[in-house]
Amino acid sequence: MDDLDDDLRRLFSDDRLELHVTPDATDSVVRGAARRRRRRTAVAGAFGVVALAGVGLGVTQLHLPNPEELAGPLLPIASSTTLTSPPSVTVSTFTSTATVTVDPPVKTGDVSSGKPNPGNTNKASSSNPPPPATPEAQPGRYGSLALGMPEAEALATGSLIEPSSPADPEGRCKAYATKSVPDTNAVIISPVKGIVRITLASYAKTPKNVGAGSTVDAVKTAYANATQSGSNVVVPMAATPKWSYIFESDGATVTTVRMRLADNDCATA
């Protein structure tokens, strides 16, 4: 009796169950999800209600996947996380609605050059408007955490690793590591303002596809309103509440990306 129990537990903890994740696995899934969403939206709301009912019932109503959807074209859509490819119009529509409205339009002519036009000085002959330095209205959320979220709510997400450590000399604000960022100051929470800092995981990218490992120039290209502050690049966001991306760098390459609440009362955040 116990033998078989033990054998099953041993088998299911076997390293050989691990499978290698392909580099484009995430993109492939995100594209597939977008395809399904578009198809559903096109079909109309009634379909959505049925499928949502499936969600409400738990998981018993997952429908047989349409083979077409899985076999659909995976390659023609440009990867949304490939650093070298500029956002094509197709990608922009589903990775970032904000991108479409606040970015300088990336013309198809620019796409073939492999790099977004870094500035507006040589666009005299083009009809492109100069990049508006308008902050984006992207909400200050990362995973289950959001800037301004009270500590109790943040702890309830299960994303924070306890115990906390004091984040300022007075011990008012608290610092936490998160499940994706071992840095003990990954998240800083003010007793008054809630979460004032969130650090992105080292592999994470912003919706404009920059993150740790990106060049400072790439950040400035992605965000027209970026400003340099020491070795950091600061990109204000116009969301409510207001916040900024802080791209910490070694001077040339981004080392860490943090999100910081603008209305912030913790000295170290």
């Binding site: 088998l11 399904r36 997952l62 919706p207």
Partner: protein, 177 residues
């Protein structure tokens, strides 16, 4: 229900779309290795594990806003969906590997072939999908009978009977009876 739908549509049509997609992509990146491993245990082979994970994640991702709004742990939700999908609708065999790399021909990685040579792994493959799922939920996920019943939408009695049938089959196949 319709209110939820409207909210979702509103969120999808607004600036929250980008954040939602980024958030889902992050979830996929973080959970993919564990889900593939779990799918491997559920299905018994890398191809089906890959297909199962991709299919369920795409469905969940296409409704990410409402899945998150439900407040459940999305990972637990996906894992339950995988178990159910495997049982109820996973009948197709596809050759293409979508999210897991796996050599199509020729040299099978030695570590994989060794797993294939495990008598218990082979015996598990012979189980009907629901019995196998019950075993995986119990011994891989360490769920109780009540939790398994809840996850699969079946009664505790069914969990018990499926479990004892599965264990009996495994013992027979392994010559342990």
């Amino acid at each position: 229900m319709t209110a939820v739908l409207r909210l979702e549509l509103a969120a999808e049509s607004g600036g929250g779309r980008a954040e939602t997609v980024g958030d889902f992509a992050e979830f996929v990146r973080m959970s993919m290795p564990g889900l593939l491993r779990y799918g491997h245990a559920l299905t018994g082979n890398p191809h089906d594990a890959s297909d199962l994970v991709q299919s369920v994640l795409e469905k969940v991702g296409s409704r990410w806003v409402s899945v998150q709004r439900k407040g459940d742990d999305p990972l637990a939700y996906v894992r339950r969906a995988m178990a159910n999908t495997h049982i109820s609708i996973w009948r197709r065999r596809r050759r293409e590997s979508l999210v897991a790399e796996f050599p199509e021909t020729g040299a099978v990685p030695p570590e994989l072939s060794r797993l294939d040579n495990e008598p218990l792994w082979q015996a598990l493959r012979e189980l009907p999908p629901r019995q196998r799922a019950v075993i995986v939920l119990r011994y891989y996920e360490n769920l109780s009978e009540a939790e398994i019943a809840n996850a699969l939408g079946i009664s505790c009695g069914t969990v018990k009977s499926q479990s004892s049938k599965a264990m009996a089959s495994l013992r027979t196949r392994l010559g342990k009876d």
